[in-house]
Symmetry: C2
Subunit: 442 residues, 2 copies
């Protein structure tokens, strides 16, 4: 039997607590599976004194002191505090010590992956982060280890369970956004401050991480065009159904020649695409390789237990790593195609111009104060930008002062669409800014 491997864990929140429970419950099975005994030796939580911790093995040192935590003789350090500090300090310090570090911190990974990878390479450290994206779905290991052999073309994902729950509920019940958001908060599917989720920003951070492993480019999340779900109205679901579509918040990354297109937005998704059927708090990711074709992974994207399973998988893989060769862990990390995958700690080619070739059919929904000439005005903007109308849908509606209608257009460059939309927004008959959603078709 090998030497015991010591684990220190920071952050006794929902995920941290689930990981500690999992390690305690599965401890003996993990020893059988790996041939290596694991032991949790220390937990950092700044308010552990106010939490119920009697279920935690008495041999585990509980502390609220960062210094004491960093002084624990751990082989594997698990960061589950979230946010930036002291999470970043814990990760960076332990990578510099050549330790195995496991984190679920998507914010830090989206911002600092380049720096962390450089530290890990320089100090022969291990960094596991499967749980940072899509909770229990092992998409990062699939990208890093299994699809390494193909050239990836596209990745599309439902990456935020809160938004998918809200959109599924709105579609089913016909209730407005604010109502459903309040219910999601009551049921624990949305935070008290839901901004990160409903603004799309959480999806953007995850998409940046996925794009890194799919395409080998470090993308700054701020550079990804992002539209949240707050402007979606019950009427949009009725219109979407007329087009045999669902509405889903997606992160999409696509390579077209040398261009990379990235976008986070609610999409109209054709019912012929599997993603349209992924409902409630589930996540799903479809990744398409030039040779392997489309592969879909779906599962629970959040929650303590599913995320804990991913964290624990990283701990087990890190435990194997502590027993073996350190040098090659960071070699197969990026599925990149250009030749400047250098040894200088940068590790990935420069980002290409984003979205230069991005093209979608679009759904454009107006709420207007009705008067003659509205469709003519909209149509003439589209004509001026060379955009082809696919359909115009106007339904009988009780309120002529707030009348919805929809125009869909044939595939159009997003840069052209942006210009037409800027012109739409200043038309004087709008009651609210027009809603513009890209459409995904088979």
């Amino acid at each position: 039997m090998s030497k015991e491997i010591h684990i220190a864990l920071a952050g006794l929140g929902t995920v941290g607590t689930a990981v500690v429970r999992l390690l305690q419950e599965e401890c003996s099975r993990y020893r059988e599976k790996l041939g290596v005994p694991l032991r949790l030796i220390a937990i950092l939580d700044r308010s552990y004194r106010r939490k119920e911790t009697s279920w935690i093995d008495s041999s585990v040192k509980l502390t609220d002191s960062l210094d004491e935590f960093l002084g624990a003789p751990a082989d594997i350090v698990v960061e589950l505090i979230g946010g930036t500090e002291p999470a970043d300090y814990i990760i960076s310090t332990n990578l510099k010590r050549g330790k195995a570090v496991v984190t679920a911190n998507k914010l830090l990974l989206a911002q600092s992956a380049r720096r962390y990878f450089a530290l890990a390479r320089e100090h022969n450290a291990y960094l596991g982060f499967e749980a940072a994206v899509a909770g229990g779905i092992p998409i990062l290991r699939v990208l890093r280890r299994s699809l390494l052999s193909d050239e990836l073309i596209r990745l599309r994902g439902i990456l935020n369970g809160t938004c998918n729950f809200i959109l599924s509920e709105m579609a089913e019940s016909g209730r407005p956004f604010q109502d459903v958001l309040k219910e999601a908060q009551r049921r624990g599917y949305a935070e008290a401050d839901p901004t990160l989720d409903i603004s799309g920003r959480d999806t953007t951070d995850k998409l940046a991480i996925l794009a890194l492993f799919a395409f080998g480019h470090f993308i700054t999340p701020d550079h990804i065009p992002t539209q949240g779900i707050t402007a979606i109205s019950p009427v949009d679901f009725s219109f979407a159904r007329k087009f045999d579509c669902a509405i889903k918040l997606l992160g999409v990354a696509e390579r077209i020649d040398h261009d990379l297109s990235l976008r986070v937005s609610p999409f109209l998704v054709s019912e012929h695409l599997t993603l349209s059927a992924v409902s409630g708090a589930f996540n799903a990711i479809e990744v398409t390789g030039a040779r392997v074709g489309p592969i879909l992974l779906s599962g629970k994207g959040a929650g303590g237990d599913p995320t804990a399973v991913s964290v624990a998988a990283d701990i087990l893989n890190a435990a194997l790593w502590t027993q073996g060769e350190r040098r090659f862990h960071f070699q197969p990390v990026l599925n990149c195609r250009t030749s400047d995958h250098a040894d200088d700690g940068e590790g990935a080619p420069e980002t290409p111009p984003l979205n230069a070739k991005e093209t979608y059919p679009y759904y454009i929904r107006f709420f207007v104060k009705d008067r003659p000439g509205i469709i003519a005005a909209v149509a003439s903007v589209l004509a001026r930008w060379g955009i082809n109308i696919r359909s115009v849908v106007q339904e009988p509606w009780s309120d002529p002062l707030n009348l919805p209608f929809v125009i869909t257009v044939e595939p159009t460059r997003s840069s052209i669409m942006d210009k037409a939309v800027a012109e739409f927004r200043v038309l004087d008959f709008n009651r609210v800014p027009p809603l513009v959603l890209p459409i995904l078709e088979p």
Copy 2:
């Protein structure tokens, strides 16, 4: 730059040819991703002289001599011949030499996994076999590396593209089995001799391999109850639709307490389950963990290119392994729960009694020569075995000499069902043996 890694490949069939093309096309990208140059040095194919091979790099030694092939100084040996010999000899010999071996041979893996793992452990060799199950879907790596941390409960899969194509076509067109089989053969979706596929045996071999990695038990495929798709009639699809179900050939493995239930059969699958929507030549596998919940993976399960991507992923992971520590490759291979995961080369606990607690609702379809008392006779058999009827469906039908009707029953132990079915089979009004299909519901 590290030393070149040499690859020798046996078998220039569909998959072998796709792997050689992939290695040639992606060679320089693989070098960038791994920091290790790969070189194909030898190909064994007994009829290479009758094949078009001018596209293969002239530096590759083509041979039809097994001895010459085994003498090539390869670091990684790829076995894509299929069948038993000389495939088994190539795998065994190279494991004994401590080489990295990659194979897509599901038949050999299902039969000989225990022996191969023992050889790999004894000789510090590497064995990659992702492509043996479900072509391009990286299910084995997900089971071995990502779900290692959870306790798995259940695995269900559409594992044979040929059968899924035939069943999808029958459902859509209403045409009989033999017609659609012929079309599948014409279109290259079915072999000239389709027995392995349509008998369910191919699915059984794959299920045995999946069950090994999900539950840690070596299962002899012969011990898995297996029913093929040949007895399914167009009328079954009409009945299934009345129950809001599709018909899919599934491999199912489930753990109930300490019992393991395994079965390969066409199932009625509720339309509320995602598996019901997986059509055509696609494969899909749903694996459920106690904590992570259900995870679904779907993609192309066969074909040269998708399978070649999995083979090449194993080659890349083997290449990394040749650079690093050999000792721990076979440690995390089994997701088993008992403690006799020993060092004696056996590596997994004994198989528990199979299917002792297996329970399903069932669909039972009769074709009968109509006369009074038939339903009474069937119902009294069910009553004698304590089986509850859920519904009886008989449709208007033109031919009273060959009348179909269906009985569905509430969840029943499969061992009890088998006994009732044995009694059904001897009833004198049957025109064909009754078709008994288990039903999957949410």
